[in-house]
Symmetry: C2
Subunit: 304 residues, 2 copies
């Protein structure tokens, strides 16, 4: 089956519509989808200083590339990249080299912050004694740094590489774990709070699947191989990924349906859960309890 | 592990709490849960005439037995049973015999209505030419008869044997198929419409799992074997059943979490979707389009 637009040899069959695309038409399709969500949800506004959270993976690399392309067509918008060095030997050191190189090529300013410097210990070091799930402490520390530094660096928005698959998994995860309130903070743009407290998150890859992004990143030659974090064993999320992929294979459109079902409910959730936050007594960052999880981890894992 | 209450030999370990129960304590637990949902959601009110939709299966048999027991403790409430004869040889004939016997024992008045008489053809007959999914036409015809006859028989509520597993499956099914509006009509009691149009549905077994009901029905000696409809091949629902059971085995409480997550959202859905209905131009029954699906099937499958 040839490309639906230009009869060239196709590189991808879109999972939802069974439409074939050649390389150039796929790029067009992909970029149009990113621009559409940016415009529709007003992800980027005049005078914005967008910080892109980059990990060196296919999602955030694609995101940085496309946002850099996007802002060239608009005036007065600034773009920076922010990376976190968790301190994972054999993984993060490699990806940081890649990130530095890529940001240089893209002429985007990059700031790197490490767990070592911010909290006093690398993740490798923490994991020598911590017997829990690495992703839980790592996620808390990463979000803490991202939010703090986004404010310090005067970002008006923080862009992340979350894709359609990620979001569908999180939606179901919150449903299965009775954590509906957390879902009220999902969607292509979040930020019920004032900018002072919490920099708005935007997800320009919201409507693109993992497969589409992997194809795009591969065809653009961003990377030859996809590295995975050696600690990544979020079995709950992985199980949900399998379930959703199974259903989507058998009943094409399921992933999109989950997202569109959710977007139908999201405004109701947003008006129900106002997400009023407290401030951590120790660090002053916004959080939902008297002390933030990050300070709790610092006290128990770093300086016990 | 002995029964948590009386140290007798246990018959069941409750999936969610890992608590063991002996036969008598399990009956108490089970019946308490049914009475609780009846009281909490006001499923049965003074002067009600409850029609119980019975199929001869474990759920509706348990339901009829328990509602009959329940109303004996309350005044002025009437109970009847209603069964549908779809015309499925080797299956429905057997279960109708069982239903007649059971209703006689329980001293509950039973009315039986058949597809043959109401629509002109049995399901077996329809399936000789119909190449679609049997459950879709059967579900439409069954709901049509139940609603029409419930009104004719002056039922104020129609009780069905839907259990926690059924509801969890339907919730996810509507999510996966982008049919959130349909979910606004779920819950332990439905009936946004006036009684004149649509008899309220109640689901007293709402918080009981399939396993608990099967155990109850078996221990009460209602039936020796569970028959399944020979046409039952709802692969979508069956796949979801497997997924939910898998998660619930691995992460106990998942089924309950799905239900409680949903019940958190349900009031929002109910106020968002007012469920204003049209009336079928052919039969006058409430429906969402100009002509109801039942009349459409009659025209295409029965009298083409």
């Amino acid at each position: 089956m040839a490309c639906k637009n230009c009869e060239t040899k196709p590189v991808i069959i879109l999972p939802n519509s069974a439409v074939s695309h050649c390389k150039q038409c796929f790029f067009k399709y992909f970029e149009k989808k990113v621009n559409k969500v940016i415009n529709q949800y007003k992800l980027i506004e005049e005078e914005d200083h967008i910080g892109v959270a980059v990990s060196g993976g296919k999602d955030s690399t694609t995101l940085l590339y496309l946002l850099n392309k996007h802002i060239k067509k608009r005036r007065g918008i600034k773009l920076s990249a922010i990376a976190i060095d968790e301190g994972i030997q054999g993984y993060r050191d490699k990806s940081l080299d890649f990130i530095k190189k890529f940001c240089k090529e893209q002429e985007v300013d990059l700031k790197i912050f490490s767990y070592e410097k911010e909290f006093g210990k690398s993740l490798d070091n923490i994991m020598k004694t911590f017997k829990g799930v690495p992703c839980s402490v790592c996620g808390v520390f990463r979000r803490n740094i991202l939010n703090k530094k986004a404010k310090e660096l005067n970002f008006t928005k923080l862009a992340t590489g979350h894709n359609l698959d990620d979001e569908a998994q999180t939606i179901l995860m919150n449903y299965f774990r009775r954590n509906i309130k957390a879902s009220s903070r999902l969607g292509p743009i979040t930020g019920v709070l004032k900018t002072r407290d919490f920099v708005k998150r935007i997800k320009p890859l919201y409507f693109l699947t993992e497969k589409e992004i992997a194809t795009y990143a591969f065809l653009k030659g961003f990377m030859d191989e996809f590295n995975e974090c050696p600690y990544s064993k979020d079995s709950y999320r992985n199980r949900l990924r399998e379930v959703i992929n199974d259903f989507d294979n058998k009943y094409p459109g399921t992933k999109y349906n989950i997202i569109y079902s959710f977007l139908e409910i999201l405004p109701l959730l947003k008006s129900e859960y106002k997400n009023e936050l407290n401030y951590c007594k120790t660090c002053g960052e916004p959080c939902s309890r008297p002390k933030c999880k990050s300070c709790e981890y610092v006290e128990t894992l770093i300086k016990p």
